[in-house]
């Protein structure tokens, strides 16, 4: 199972796992707003500290929380370099050709990197502690107000849910097809870029075909079991919010407010 995609659900029993998905989503949005709004280093320090605390509470361990961030190191370096070299400012460290290296640019770049990295960790924490189906349900609740202007929220949520549910199936299918084509002599293992590019076709075409076939079959099966677009009255599941959901929301709001002040 080496192909588990980044940010996928890990079972667990922490407070974060047991929180209501909708509240967790709201908290994530509040936290994200805080991270984006903060623009001073004490602010970033506070955000990093809070993230660390949340990670500890989630029992996930730093490896899981930082998944994806490590893979982006090149992107981060590039951002840092671009900002350092091209930031418009008076105080310049060193000038060469079109590059104007400056301390202000470096700090500007560092801010961008910190924000993106923290947003990624936050997303990771949400995805790792919430099952995809719960997440789809939470999205539905979140988008509920859009119903008033005629957006078919239920259908959108359904589509999201189905799409999320099929990710493991498709990755398994892709793995099976990859093996089959390798056995027939496809060179996925080759390091040459031109061969690598060519070897994509025998993988992508069958995977797409399988996806379309599955979509057809699923649509047929849903119809056969009486699914149709819901109109008018909707029986809405009630969310049972507990104290930890309230505390979570409160803490995240406080954090957001603190970030605005700092």
């Amino acid at each position: 199972m080496s192909f588990l995609p980044t940010g996928s659900y890990r079972e667990g029993d922490s407070v974060l796992h047991r929180m209501d998905a909708f509240c967790k989503l709201l908290c994530t949005i509040l936290f994200l707003a805080g991270v984006i709004l903060s623009d001073s280093f004490p602010g970033y320090g506070l955000a990093a500290g809070c993230l660390l605390a949340v990670t500890l509470v989630s029992h996930l361990g730093p490896g899981t929380a930082l998944r994806g961030v490590k893979r982006m190191w090149l992107f981060f370096c590039l951002i840092l370099l671009m900002n350092t070299a091209f930031f418009e400012t008076e105080q310049i460290w060193w000038e060469w050709w079109i590059f104007r290296f400056s301390a202000d640019g470096f700090f500007q770049g560092l801010q961008v990197v910190l924000r993106v990295a923290m947003a990624m960790v936050l997303g990771n924490l949400l995805m790792s502690t919430t099952s995809p189906l719960e997440l789809a349900g939470a999205m539905e609740s979140l988008l509920y107000p859009l119903k008033l202007i005629g957006v078919p929220v239920r259908d959108v949520a359904m589509i999201l849910g189905v799409a999320i549910q099929f990710i493991p199936t498709f990755s398994e299918e892709a793995e099976a097809i990859r093996k089959a084509q390798t056995a027939r002599g496809a060179r996925f293992e080759s390091r040459k870029l031109s061969e690598k590019a060519k070897s994509v076709v025998p993988l992508v075409v069958p995977v797409f075909l399988a996806a379309f076939r599955r979509a057809d079959e699923l649509a047929m099966a849903m119809e056969a079991r009486g699914y149709r677009r819901t109109k008018g009255k909707i029986s809405k599941r009630r969310r049972h919010l507990s104290r930890r959901d309230g505390i979570g929301l409160l803490l995240c709001s406080l954090f957001g407010a603190a970030e605005i002040m700092l």
Binding site: E173, R184, G185, V201
Partner: protein, 292 residues
């Protein structure tokens, strides 16, 4: 090209909570030109085993030798392995992707050092082997120009098998080749396997179909929860139908009918596993019945 599997163990998801032991200390040997059946309950490690043999997975422990060479040794020529060993996956029709049948079958030949004419000849031979006959002596069968996606399910499967045969492997592995075939498709496939076997190809076939394997295989390996728990001729494996049931492989219709006839005193020996032998016995019985 004997295949030797030596003390092979394999785990999935190592060092995670999802760790599963798929195979444990498996050892066996397959001689040149043998027809070996592999049976076992769903999830017993059959697919893992054949993926290991095809070099698509690397065993955690143990070695796999083909023709005396360890296929997981760093210096081993993987391309050579792909040429000598062909594997037909479960539902192989899902791997078709080219615009024409001809191109799809020729995919396995892409990296081989062959002239155009030789490649065309190989494709034609492979398509004929799976039962697509050409009308004229020279041209390829009519199907060669069609899109593989426009074919029926049975045709797709045959084209996919042709795609593996075209490379001319001397060892062929089939993973559940009978799943989803209609009765005539099943018989056609088994005849094809028998024909390839008679031409000297080593065949390994994973199947749940005890009657099919009994009719064609020289030897059967039975896996149960990742271990090799029985190995022998079809007669030996199904000597005790109760034991076969306990291993979740079923005894097969032929063996069960033979058992019933034996218990009724109509057969001297219940150890019949081949359909044709049973049929002859029954015909003999009917004749004897008419005689009296």
């Amino acid at each position: 090209m004997p295949i030797e599997v030596k003390n092979v163990s394999c785990r999935y998801g190592e060092r995670t909570p999802l760790e599963v032991e798929a195979l444990r200390e498996i050892s066996f040997r397959v001689e040149d030109g043998e027809f070996v059946g592999i049976m076992g309950h769903t999830g017993c490690g059959k697919s893992t085993l054949i993926h290991l043999m095809a070099g698509l997975l690397i065993p955690g422990e143990g070695r796999i030798l083909i023709d005396g060479k360890d296929i997981n040794e760093p210096g081993y020529d993987r391309e050579e392995l792909r040429r000598t060993l062909g594997i037909v996956f479960q539902y192989p029709e899902s791997q078709l992707f080219e615009t024409t049948v001809e191109k799809d079958v020729a995919f396995a030949l892409k990296h081989l050092d062959l002239s155009k004419a030789e490649k065309a000849e190989r494709v034609r031979w492979a398509l004929e082997a799976v039962g697509f006959r050409a009308d004229s002596r020279s041209g390829p069968p009519e199907i060669a120009g069609k899109s593989p996606l426009a074919l029926s399910g049975g045709e797709k499967r045959r084209v996919a098998i042709a795609g593996v045969l075209a490379a001319g492997p001397r060892i062929l592995i089939f993973d559940e080749p009978l799943a989803g075939l209609d009765p005539s498709g099943r018989l056609e496939f088994l005849e094809l396997a028998a024909r390839l076997h008679s031409q000297g190809t080593t065949i390994l076939m994973v199947s749940h179909d005890a009657d099919a394997l009994c009719g064609y295989a020289d030897r059967i390996l039975v896996l149960d929860r990742g271990r090799l728990c029985a190995e022998g001729s079809p007669e030996e494996i199904f000597r005790d139908p109760g034991r076969a049931e306990a291993l979740h492989i079923g005894a097969g219709e032929v063996r069960r009918i033979a058992q019933v006839l034996y218990e009724k005193g109509r057969l001297q020996n219940p150890e019949i596993t081949k359909y044709k032998v049973l049929l002859d016995e029954i015909k003999r019985m009917i004749k004897a019945g008419e005689g009296t």
